[in-house]
Symmetry: C2
Amino acid sequence: MSCSDFNAKESIKPSTFLNPVPVVMVTCGSMENSNIITLAWAGTVNSEPPMLSISIRKERFSHDIIKDSGIFGVNLVSKPLIKACDYCGVKSGRDIDKFKELKLTKYQGKTTGIPLIKESPASLECKVRQIIELGTHDMFIADILDVHVSKELFDAKGAIDMQKADLVAYNHGEYYTLGQYLGFYGYSVAGKEALARRLRK
Amino acid sequence: MSCSDFNAKESIKPSTFLNPVPVVMVTCGSMENSNIITLAWAGTVNSEPPMLSISIRKERFSHDIIKDSGIFGVNLVSKPLIKACDYCGVKSGRDIDKFKELKLTKYQGKTTGIPLIKESPASLECKVRQIIELGTHDMFIADILDVHVSKELFDAKGAIDMQKADLVAYNHGEYYTLGQYLGFYGYSVAGKEALARRLRK
């Protein structure tokens, strides 16, 4: 196996240097009074039951809405959504109705009643389990109670093809599409048959 | 703003559907007895002080090592490292010495003493603050105490250019490079000058 040859490293100030990270549009509130906040401090934290966490600054408009209601939506971000996504990260729901301003379509998750974004390729309904105060941010640990996937992402056999979602990642303050497919989990030890079948271009 | 037109969605079984997520090589143990475990359930959780979380299955070899020592390293994964990264996710440190097997170079973090991977473009020294049992996984919330960045990533002005790191993301069970640069945080409301300067190709 060939590995990169990064030689000497330099110590910098401790910082949030984990990269790349997700970027998601989190929805909250009611169908009548909804908000969208863009977050990159988000991650999967447990497989069974499926759980994720999001971290929100205490002073953000969505913080108390989610704290009070105990539910939120996580809407994955595709390339065509990225400008709206960025906008929802810099503008406050105290000042504008982001759904209206961005002409995004609202629909209601049937499991929690949370508003979700129709234009997102996949939306997760989440219920807060625990809130942990960490410093600038509070971490909301939540159960994923329902997952909505766009019909466009299913292939002829009913499998989900995530390449069709054209998802975006956040890397050191910048947004990027996903690029070259490198392999699947377990490919380094897979047999020839699995490699031939799954190492598609 | 034009948005994608994903129309109807289908509800699937609740699952860990947040995508893309990071994929990192977590180092643990001592300089003499080290291990590497690949994790995708990782995320930044707080800005100040800088903190991240990783989630590990209780039965994994690295789980107790990190629980007992209270420290671990997070090594970011570049494209040339991806096969080694995948291998560290499927093989157990109970059976093999992964540093030796993969011919990776070990060096010691000066702040915590944790072993780190030289070939990784950036390595973070982390100290566990809290462990939360969630189900299949335990979540380790940790302070980021030191960040090591490869000198190759600094540009002439001393700024860090993360595109040079050629980082990999994990998307629904598959590894991808980062692709097209779409914009920077705040670009949707930035002035002409900032756009001209920062919306590079």
